[in-house]
C-alpha cells in the first residue's frame, strides 16, 4: 500500500500549528503568572474577578452539586440494593462528590459561565482596540487584565468547590433520609466515618488547578482573538471547549498523582 504523500503537508501543518499553539499558550501562561507576583497590583480588579468567577457562579454550581448528590444517592441505591450494600451509599456519595464530581462539575460549569464571559470580554476589548489603548496609557495589559483573573480563578474555584461539596452531600442526605428510608443520624455517621481530610484537600487542589485553567483559557483565547464579532464568538467557544477538555484530562492526571499509590 502506498503512503498517501499528499497528506504530508496537511500533517506537517497540523503538527506545526499544534506546536505553535502550545508554545504561545506556555509563554502566555508564564507571563501571566509572573505578573501575579510583580507590582503594581490591582486589588479592585482581583475582587471584581473573584465576584465574576466565584460569587456569580455560585447559583449554577450550587444547583449542579445539589442535584448531583441527589441523583448519586438514588443511582447508588439502585445498584447497591442488589447486593444488600445500601449502607455504602453515604460513603459513596461523599467520596464521589469531594474527590471527583465536586471539582469536575464545578470546573465545567464555571468554564461555561465565567470562562466564556472572560473570553468574550477580552476578545471584545481586543477587536475594539481597548487592549492597545491600555498599552498607550502606561498599563501592561497582561498585568491589568490577565494576572487578576488568573489569581481570582485559583482562589475562587476551591471556595466554590467547598460549597459544592457541602451541597452535594446535603443532596444525598435529603434523598437518602426522605426517600430511601435512612435515619439522619446513621447517614451522617456513615458519611463522616469514611471521609478523610485528604479527600477534601485533594478535591480543593484539583479545583485550584481547574480555576487556573479556566482563567488561562478564557484570557488566552480572548486576548488573541481577531476579526470582529465572529472572532470573539470563536474565541469564546474555543475558551470553553479547550478549558473543558483540559479539565477532564488534568482530572485524570491529578487523580493518578493524588490518589493512586
Amino acid at each position: 500500500m502506498k503512503f498517501p504523500l499528499n497528506m504530508v503537508p496537511a500533517l506537517g501543518a497540523l503538527v506545526l500549528g499544534t506546536v505553535e499553539f502550545v508554545g504561545e499558550l506556555g509563554i502566555f501562561a508564564i507571563s501571566g503568572v509572573s505578573h501575579v507576583f510583580r507590582p503594581p497590583y490591582y486589588p479592585r480588579l482581583i475582587w471584581r474577578s473573584l465576584m465574576e468567577i466565584g460569587f456569580y457562579s455560585l447559583p449554577v454550581v450550587a444547583l449542579t452539586a445539589l442535584f448531583t448528590g441527589m441523583v448519586l444517592a438514588l443511582q447508588s441505591y439502585t445498584g447497591f440494593s442488589r447486593f444488600n450494600a445500601e449502607s455504602a451509599i453515604a460513603s459513596i456519595v461523599v467520596l464521589s462528590v469531594t474527590r471527583e464530581l465536586g471539582p469536575v462539575l464545578a470546573g465545567l460549569m464555571v468554564s461555561g459561565r465565567a470562562g466564556a464571559a472572560m473570553a468574550a470580554e477580552l476578545g471584545t476589548m481586543r477587536v475594539t482596540d481597548q487592549i492597545d489603548a491600555l498599552s498607550t496609557l502606561s498599563t501592561n495589559p497582561m498585568k491589568y487584565l490577565v494576572a487578576p483573573r488568573l489569581l481570582a480563578g485559583v482562589i475562587a474555584l476551591p471556595l466554590l468547590v467547598g460549597i459544592a461539596d457541602i451541597l452535594g452531600v446535603m443532596g444525598g442526605f435529603l434523598v437518602s433520609t426522605e426517600k430511601l428510608g435512612f435515619t439522619p443520624g446513621t447517614y451522617l455517621i456513615s458519611t463522616f466515618s469514611h471521609l478523610k481530610v485528604e479527600d477534601v484537600v485533594s478535591g480543593l487542589i484539583k479545583a485550584a488547578v481547574f480555576g487556573f485553567i479556566i482563567s488561562l483559557m478564557g484570557c488566552f483565547n480572548g486576548y488573541r482573538s481577531k476579526g470582529g464579532a465572529q472572532g470573539v464568538g470563536a474565541a469564546t467557544t474555543s475558551a470553553v471547549v479547550t478549558a473543558s477538555i483540559l479539565i477532564l484530562a488534568l482530572d485524570y492526571i491529578l487523580t493518578q498523582v493524588l490518589f493512586v499509590k
Partner: protein, 256 residues
C-alpha cells in the same frame, strides 16, 4: 538646525509575505501637525503602532527626541512612549469604567494623581473638550459617537502629552461633528504645544488638523508637502487619492 521630534528611517515591517512598510523615512518637527494619508492597507496604522510600541518593526530606526526607541532599554522606551497620547479610531473607551475613570486612567496608572482627586480632574479635562460635568458619571455605552470621540480625546490629552496620535479622528462622524472634533484637536494640540501625527482619509480634516502631510504608497512615503497643497499636488498618486479618482497609478498597482 532643529532636531525632529520624531525621526523615522528605513522602517520595515512585513506580515508573512506581505511587506506593509518597506523603508519608511519620515520626520515630524516639534510643535507641528503631520497628517499621514494613504489607501486602505497602505500601512498607516502599522506605522503609528510601530512608533507607540504596539507593533515591533522588522528593521529601521524610530527616534523620539533623537533617542532610538527600538534600541532603548524596555524601561527607557516606556519612558519615551509615556509622553505619547493616542486617540483611537473608534475611541477604544473602556466599557467597564465610567467616563471619569476612562479620562484619568493614564494619570492614575502613572500615579500622577490620587484616586480621590481623579473625578475633579476628569471634569476639568472634559470641559476642555466641551462636555458637561454630568457626563463624568456615565458609562461609555450611554454616549453618542461624537461624545465618545470627545471623551477619547479628553483621555488622550489628560496627561498633557508632548506627542499626540490621531487614528482617523473623524471616521463615523457626520461632517459637522467631524469639523467640531477637528477644531477640538487643533485647539488641544496648540494649547499643549504638542507634536501631532494624524491618519485620515478625510481631506478636509487633513487640511484642518495638519501642517504637513505625507502619502504612503506601496510601503513607502511617496510624497511629503504642506497639508494645504494636498488637493493641488501634481504628484499622480496624491492627485488620484485626494480626488478619489477610480483611474490612475493606484488602481494600476492593485491590478498587478
Amino acid at each position: 538646525m532643529t532636531q525632529p521630534k520624531i525621526r523615522i528611517r528605513g522602517l520595515k515591517k512585513a506580515f508573512g509575505e506581505k511587506k506593509v512598510l518597506d523603508g519608511i523615512d519620515l520626520d515630524v518637527m516639534p510643535g507641528t501637525g503631520m497628517v499621514v494619508i494613504g489607501g486602505s492597507g497602505s500601512g498607516k496604522s502599522v506605522l503609528i503602532k510601530s512608533i507607540i510600541g504596539l507593533v515591533t518593526p522588522d528593521s529601521g530606526v524610530i527616534e523620539i527626541d533623537g533617542e532610538d526607541v527600538l534600541k532603548a532599554s524596555r524601561g527607557r522606551a516606556h519612558e519615551l512612549r509615556a509622553q505619547i497620547g493616542m486617540l483611537f479610531q473608534n475611541g477604544a473607551l473602556f466599557d467597564s469604567l465610567p467616563v471619569w475613570e476612562n479620562v484619568t486612567f493614564g494619570l492614575l496608572a502613572q500615579n500622577k494623581i490620587r484616586r480621590s482627586a481623579a473625578r475633579d480632574k476628569a471634569i476639568e479635562v472634559l470641559a476642555q473638550v466641551g462636555l458637561a460635568d454630568n457626563v463624568a458619571a456615565l458609562s461609555p455605552s450611554e454616549l453618542s459617537g461624537g461624545m465618545q470621540k470627545r471623551v477619547a480625546l479628553a483621555r488622550a490629552i489628560a496627561s498633557e502629552p508632548a506627542i499626540m496620535f490621531f487614528d482617523e479622528p473623524t471616521t463615523g462622524l457626520d461632517p459637522i461633528m467631524g469639523a467640531v472634533i477637528d477644531e477640538l484637536i487643533v485647539d488641544c494640540v496648540k494649547r499643549l504645544g504638542s507634536t501631532s501625527v494624524a491618519i485620515t482619509h478625510d481631506m478636509a480634516s487633513a487640511q484642518r488638523i495638519g501642517d504637513r502631510a505625507a502619502m504612503l504608497y506601496e510601503g513607502r512615503v511617496c510624497w511629503t508637502g504642506a497639508a494645504e497643497e494636498l488637493l493641488t499636488s501634481t504628484d499622480p498618486v496624491v492627485d488620484q487619492f485626494t480626488h478619489g479618482r477610480a483611474h490612475g497609478p493606484i488602481k494600476m498597482a492593485l491590478r498587478r
